[in-house]
């Protein structure tokens, strides 16, 4: 009876090994991707300079240091690129090969994207550490109870990001340039998620709106949790919000995937 799950497990492990081998083969590419996303670290320098004559909102210089280093690391932890893979493989028919395999293509992409994490972190962590050594101050979460929430918050953030990419990627079943639609999400994400500036500094009104949107659930919330800016009740609310968005976006992704596969089959591809 236990043969089937063990078989799936073996397959999943094989995909993970494949992903890790690919990441190791394209390590220079990966390193440049990571350098491409040092955006928060330059924001750090910028906001640090602006906060020279006194704190901005509730962030002083050390506050910005911690926030943006955490934002850099969280962005690395939640990274995936399934939208581009899916868009291409639907357009050129490579998806057919994946569909023939005994593992769902979605699971395949989950494992490929996850398996790069160790190498990604081993590149990114020293960069973050180096910046922290340069700037000196770093405040991190004190409350051990909230530390327990960090893992689920990061996991939910990863899943949310993956679900959004899956949704946009699935649009490639019907549209020719789905991946470019993702740029809309990305543009809003950079501004509204707390990636380029903490959302709590937004003007009143915009801040409240931004903080319930999925962008903030993907990045701003785990970052604020990590640097200890949230009360326990706020942290729990944030987790609930993440879960709610995941429910909505996950359902949408599942529906689009199922319908898309039917449309894909109809092409005769």
């Amino acid at each position: 009876m236990s043969a089937a799950p063990r078989r799936v497990l073996a397959l999943v492990a094989a995909i993970a090994r494949l992903g890790m081998a690919e990441a190791a083969a394209y390590r220079v590419s990966l390193l440049i991707w990571i350098v491409t996303s040092i955006f928060p670290l330059i924001s750090l320098v910028l906001w640090r300079a602006l906060a020279e004559d006194g704190p901005i909102g509730d962030y002083d210089q050390a506050g910005f240091d911690s926030y943006f280093v955490a934002a850099f690391l969280v962005r690395q932890l939640i990274a995936s690129w399934v939208v581009w893979d899916l868009d291409r493989s639907i357009r050129n028919g490579d998806l057919s090969v994946l569909l023939l395999r005994p593992v769902s293509p979605v699971l395949h992409h989950v494992m490929i994207n996850l398996s790069v994490l160790p190498l990604r972190l081993s590149f990114a962590a020293p960069i973050g550490l180096f910046v922290l050594l340069l700037t000196g101050g770093f405040t991190v979460l004190h409350d051990p109870v909230q530390w327990l929430l960090v893992i689920p918050a990061l996991a939910l953030a990863w899943l949310l990001n993956f679900a959004v990419q899956l949704i946009v990627g699935c649009l490639a079943f019907w549209l020719t340039k789905a991946a470019s639609l993702f740029e809309i999400w990305l543009g809003l994400f950079i501004v509204l998620s707390g990636y380029s500036v903490p959302t709590s500094l937004f003007p009143a009104g915009l801040a409240e709106v931004a903080r319930v949107l999925p962008f903030h659930a993907v990045l701003g919330f785990p970052v604020e949790l990590l640097v200890g800016r949230l009360e326990l009740s706020q942290a729990l609310t944030g987790l609930a919000l993440q879960a709610a968005w995941l429910l909505v976006l996950g359902a949408l992704a599942a529906m689009l995937w199922r319908r898309g596969l039917r449309a894909y089959g109809a092409f005769g591809a």
Binding site: L50, I56, S196, V197, P203
Partner: protein, 275 residues
């Protein structure tokens, strides 16, 4: 084959190059007019994208009366300049860069090299997205409106400085792209350096005065965003010293020279895709 027989009789190399550029631009423009949805996806989206990027600036202004001595009107002028530069980048530079990289990867560059024109010129007009010029137009409008709002009355010298730094900025942007393209010859893994330039371009939204130390030097001389977006408004406001404009010109020329040298070197090492 003599000169008279190659179809470009008697007009000289400059004419030939200009004709190639004009033809490429015309073909791409016709193609763009075919796909009118590009007005929405390239044009308006680019404008929206640019305007949404202003939010961090607005946040900073929410908490401070000015940013490193830049008033809101001056920052609006800077945003206008950023839209001009970013629009030119996504209309002319970036599409050509990606198309040329694709040619290197597939080996289609061979055909480009056979043309009786400079290969670099061919590469830099390999693709063109005219709809992104909408962003340039909006940016120029914003620059003009903000300049009026700031109440500037530029002298002839100021306008001359503005022209100098704007041209230097665009030359520098081109030179950086050619450098990236040359590196891509060496290792195709380095292709995504093009995305690095794109993501760095976001920092050109901030006045150079907010950056300190090595980062300031980096954004002035290595990836000279200061020249592209900070210097033009400073020129209009009469705050740019002629010495800085001269420095901008020298930086652009040095970058262009480096890019040309790197390109020639890279081209010598090109062995096509199959060999």
């Amino acid at each position: 084959m003599t000169r008279a027989q190659d179809g470009f009789a008697g007009r000289g190399p400059l004419h030939r190059h200009l004709r190639l550029v004009a033809t490429q631009l015309r073909i791409r423009t016709l193609a763009a007019l075919e796909y009118r949805t590009g007005f929405w996806s390239d044009g308006l989206l680019g404008v929206l994208w640019s305007l949404s990027g202003v939010i961090p600036l607005l946040v900073a202004l929410e908490h401070r009366p000015d940013i490193a001595g830049w008033t809101p009107w001056a920052l609006a002028m800077l945003t206008g300049c950023h839209m001009i530069v970013a629009g030119l980048f996504s209309a002319i530079v970036q599409p050509a860069l990606h198309a040329a990289m694709e040619d290197i990867r597939t080996g289609a560059l061979d055909y480009l090299l056979l043309r009786p024109v400079d290969a670099l010129v061919s590469c830099m007009v390999a693709d063109f997205r005219p709809w992104s010029l909408v962003e340039v137009v909006v940016g120029a409008g914003l620059l003009a409106v903000a300049a009026i709002g700031a109440g500037v009355s530029p002298t002839v010298l100021d306008v001359a400085l503005l022209a100098t730094v704007l041209v230097s900025g665009v030359v520098a942007l081109y030179a950086l792209s050619v450098l990236i393209l040359s590196v891509a010859f060496r290792a195709l893994q380095l292709q995504n350096l093009a995305y690095l330039l794109e993501s760095l371009l976001d920092f050109a939204r901030w006045p150079i005065a907010v950056f300190r130390g090595p980062l300031k030097a980096f954004f002035t001389f290595v990836v000279p965003f200061a020249i592209m977006t900070s210097y033009p408004p400073m020129a209009l406001l009469g705050r740019l010293e002629p010495r800085a404009a001269g420095g901008a010109m020298v930086t652009a020329i040095v970058l262009a020279w480096l890019a040309r040298a790197a390109w020639l070197r890279a081209l010598r090492g090109y062995t096509s895709a199959s060999s």
